[in-house]
């Protein structure tokens, strides 16, 4: 099932790569309900407002301001991203989805949708943060590049966490628990980058963190599909074949 077929106006059949169709499906589902973007956007706004409230007497310094923004973006992504995977499982549509497309296509479709969602939220949170909480911006372009890249990297990493907890008990809490250890290096690099944008540290240090952040954003694109193929394909292990060879039935294996 490599492609989806869709005839265009002239009657010709166009082939879409499945991951693009999966991405379209995510956008269509989101535009129908608009739950993910509105709730996670609201959560981000409230977090910025809370920081603004807490720092109303004294503005935070560059280091603290960078840390606060990183933590806000991290928690917003923890709320927004695993939901994309978990909701599919809870609605009972995931098995049907898997019949239709390969795990790689599903994962990439969800990952790209999550990244688009986080770009939007990062821009919104970043703008309000500058207006309400942050000290003066010294290098604006670095701030915007850093904020968007942080959002993309966080969403990509959290897609892995979301795909892992899909079938687990207490999956909503577990998603947060297993996401945070994966994102600590990200927070470190995000703080290192954003504090330079706020005027602390050298531009060279900012660039190093920018490259690190870029690497951290790209790594899940390579690792995620591999993990998804292994996790969501349930019929390819050697022991499974061996067990069947010994006379055990499929239902027995499934029941174990």
């Amino acid at each position: 099932m490599g492609v989806l077929w869709s005839p265009d106006e002239s009657g010709r059949v166009a082939m879409n790569p499945p991951w693009i169709t999966a991405l379209k499906k995510e956008f269509t589902a989101e535009l129908r309900a608009k739950q993910g973007i509105t709730t996670s956007g609201l959560f981000g706004l409230m977090a910025v407002a809370a920081c603004g409230f807490a720092s109303s007497i004294e503005k935070p310094g560059p280091g603290l301001a960078a840390g606060l923004l990183s933590v806000i973006l991290l928690f917003v992504s923890t709320v927004a991203i695993p939901r994309i995977f978990i909701a599919e499982q809870e609605q009972g549509t995931f098995d049907l989805y898997r019949q239709w497309a390969s795990p790689t296509a599903i994962f990439l479709g969800k990952l790209l949708f999550a990244a688009a969602q986080m770009i939007l939220i990062s821009l919104m949170v970043g703008a309000i943060y500058v207006a309400m909480v942050a000290p003066e911006l010294k290098i604006p372009w670095l701030y915007w590049v850093g904020t968007i890249l942080f959002g993309i990297a966080a969403s990509n990493v959290l897609c892995i966490a979301g795909s892992l907890v899909m079938g687990a008990a207490n999956r909503w809490i577990l998603a947060g628990v297993i996401s945070l250890p994966l994102t600590f290096p990200l927070v470190f690099m995000g703080v290192g980058l954003l504090r330079v944008a706020f005027g602390e540290g050298t531009l060279n240090g900012g660039f190093i963190n920018l490259i690190g952040l870029l690497g951290y954003a790209i790594a899940p694109i390579g690792l995620g599909p591999f993990l998804a193929e292994s996790l969501w394909n349930e019929a390819n292990t050697e022991d499974r074949k061996g067990l069947q060879g010994q006379g055990a039935t499929e239902s027995q294996w499934e029941g174990r």
Binding site: I160, L164, G167, A168, L180, L182, F188, L231, Q252
Partner: protein
Amino acid sequence: MNPRLLIAGLLGVVMTGYIYSVPDARLFRDPAMARILFTHVPSAFVASIFFVVAAWAGLQVLGKGRVLHRARLHAAVELGALFAGFTMATGILFSRVQWGEWWHNDPRQTSFLIVLLSYLALLGLRGAFSDPEKRDKTTAAYAVALLLPAIFLTFIYPRLPHVAQQSFHPSTTIPKGELDTAYQIGLWGNVTAFLVLAFFVYGLRVRQELHSRALENLDDHLADSHHDSPDSRVRRPVAVRRED
């Protein structure tokens, strides 16, 4: 007697004796407490090795999925978490003695705490699946995904120049060869003893897991082939006598 157990036991006895024979360290607030090095560093060493072993076994589970790899994965995760906990405990004790606080907020302490929490999260994730197949694969996937953050937090982050400046942790003492010869012998001897002991326990845990899984398979197979599982139909608790 198992030769690995014998070697581990002998090394343990020799190294315990050696630890008490080395002179007290001069630059320590409590000179006798410098001996904590002999347990703290080997524990961290073994924990780091098991994190790599867990990730490697995880890759094998995701690829081939053999029972042996699954057993190795679980054993490595458990022992990695155990030795990381031991490293943390001895580190906290060292912090209290040398720096005067149980928690000094040293970057090295914090980064290793995150590594420990990561592996506790891995154990938590493992416990959240009732289906063994999914449990094994998810644990494997997370162990693989954790390797990069664990390497960053253990080896890269504490050595970054601006982080190292803030840290009191004597991370550079061993690489720069500033350790006294008697302490160097004790340290590497203990690293060897810890490694032998840890891999002996690892082997035992792998075997135990394999036996446990084989027993489960056998139990299922017997239940199916002999039809000796309880009948699910409703039965009367007493015999019903026909009345003519």
